[in-house]
């Protein structure tokens, strides 16, 4: 599947954008040319050789703060996605196999979680468990887990009712055998789509929370926090919020693009898409012969 995603231009673009962001998260804090917390007398200056993106209201180097803040932001969104995955997928599969009672119970829990406004809940939970990104992200992760529950359940249901599963049953296969052999491969692509999408959602949430000053102690930099402080000095530096905003947008856009690319290449729709591309290429460039093999029906 990875190869097929990379075969799409949008897939390559998404992976490219996300790799740069991931590199920032890993290396950002060490690459920062200045101390992201170090204040100076030079407040609210424009870009210069010393301060590529200028300084903020306390005279801190904005570029260094962006680099240092990337790790918190990215780790937070990944945490949201992973927690949602862990909490949602297993009950999603089991809801199909463990009988009516379990199904009803998990469905109602999923409905309940969906009904809760997660941003407000995250705020409430940080008040209870302490103001930290992990606590807030844990809450958000649990609250968006119904997405994974639903997606997994839908995919599993489709498989469970298929004839090849019945054929396996007739051969004497156990539920575990069927899950390992037939269900897993079908559930993975939609879960991957949901995962990429949730990373995007998580990013917006981390940025929103840190914009509100929740989850991060004040001097520590985050992209959302930068955006918030820049907005306070809009009249002095109207261009300042552009950079953190662009970074946030690029990451979310990259995640959604990746989700689209995964969806496009998996299953029947993926084959149809590749076919129509081939047909278009053929029309644009009729001189170039195209191998006939693998024609989809």
């Amino acid at each position: 599947m990875v190869r097929r995603v990379l075969a799409l231009p949008t897939g390559r673009l998404a992976v490219g954008v996300l790799s740069v962001i991931a590199l920032l998260a890993i290396l950002g804090p060490t690459l920062a040319p200045h101390n992201p917390l170090g204040t100076s007398a030079l407040t609210l200056t424009g870009p210069s050789w010393k301060h590529w993106l200028g300084t903020d209201y306390l005279g801190r180097d904005v570029f260094s703060r962006l680099l240092a803040g990337s790790r918190t932001s990215v780790l937070g969104s990944v945490e949201v996605a992973l927690i949602a995955l862990a909490v949602g997928v297993v009950p999603g599969i089991l809801s199909v196999y463990l009988g009516r009672g379990f199904e009803w119970f998990t469905l109602r829990i999923a409905d309940t979680l969906l009904a809760l406004p997660f941003l407000i809940y995250a705020v409430a939970v940080t008040a209870l468990l302490g103001n930290g990104i992990p606590q807030a992200m844990f809450t958000v992760g649990v609250l968006v887990s119904p997405l994974f529950y639903r997606v997994t359940r839908a995919a599993t249901l489709a498989v469970a009712r298929s004839q090849y599963v019945e054929a396996a049953l007739i051969s004497g296969a156990s539920i575990g055998w069927i899950a390992r052999r037939h269900v897993w491969g079908k559930v993975l692509p939609p879960v991957a789509v949901a995962l990429a999408q949730t990373i995007g959602v998580g990013f917006v949430v981390v940025s929103s929370l840190s914009f509100l000053g929740i989850g991060v102690q004040p001097p520590a930099p985050t992209w959302g926090g930068l955006l918030a402080s820049d907005l306070g000095y809009l009249s002095y530096q109207p261009w300042a919020p552009i950079v953190p905003a662009l970074l946030i947008m690029a990451t979310v856009w990259g995640s959604n693009l990746l989700a689209d690319a995964i969806r496009d290449v998996s299953g029947e729709a993926g084959r149809a898409l590749l076919n129509s591309r081939r047909a278009r290429a053929r029309r644009l460039n009729p001189a170039e012969p195209i191998p006939a093999g693998g024609a989809a029906r």
Binding site: N275, S276, R278, A279, R282, R283, P286, P289, I290, P291, A292, A295
Partner: protein
Amino acid sequence: MTRTLPDGTVTAAVPAARPADPPALDPPAAQAAALAVRDVRIRDDVNDREIVHGVSFELRPGRAVGIVGESGSGKTLTCRAILGILPAHFAVSGGSIEIVGRDIAELTTPQWTDLRGSTISAVFQDPASYLNPSIKVGAQIAEVIGVKTGLRRRAARRRALELLTAVHLRDPELVYDQYTFELSGGMLQRILIATAIAADPQVLIADEATTALDVTVQAEILDLLADLRERRGLALVVVSHDLAVVAQVCDEVLVMREGEVVEHGSTADVLYHPRHEYTRLLIAEHEQYGLDRYLAGEQRKELDSVH
């Protein structure tokens, strides 16, 4: 049951049992053909291959032509080309199709919309997928009537009920207010046929329209098609993978294989004097594995001596 007689005396009247040639209808227009397909070729742009290598036939009002072939033989693509609904990346690359004298290559989209339903119409294999499950079937027929003939609601309803009666549904009033899930496959296919003939088309294409149905229901639908043909002078294109189905309804048969017409002739000719090996295979299959093996044993001996 006449043909259960073992001595074959009754079944000897074979040609008579085929649909008799319809009374010679005077051609309405000078060209006479309701549908003329001339050397139609269809190409797949994905791998740049020609899928259909030249299909030709002419269909006059009140006549029926059958196309037989296995899946992938190009019979469905040919039908779709006639209806102007080829799937993406397929295109007619040669030949011409004329519907009541109009070359379809020159039709604009509004002209197509005008033509479909009122001049040429079609029914396909899986009737349930062509109806909206959340709307009563009667309303769906009435909608087609409203769009195609401009009748108002009351009149459209009355017309829909007439059509449901015409396709031999037992209780049209009841069926009108039912949903697709309350109806059997055979009844749904009748409803689709009723919808297809709502605007009094001259040509009806039935593409594997009875394939998914039970044998007894298939016989009823084939009876219905023969009936419509006789009474309304409808010209039929019957497409099937089963030679016997086509032989039952049509006067003329095309046998297609891998995009090529391997045999084309009157039904009797094709059945009794098959020229191509593939046609012989189709016939042999029925003789060895079908009911023909048991029925009319006498007759078969006669035929074998003919070969």
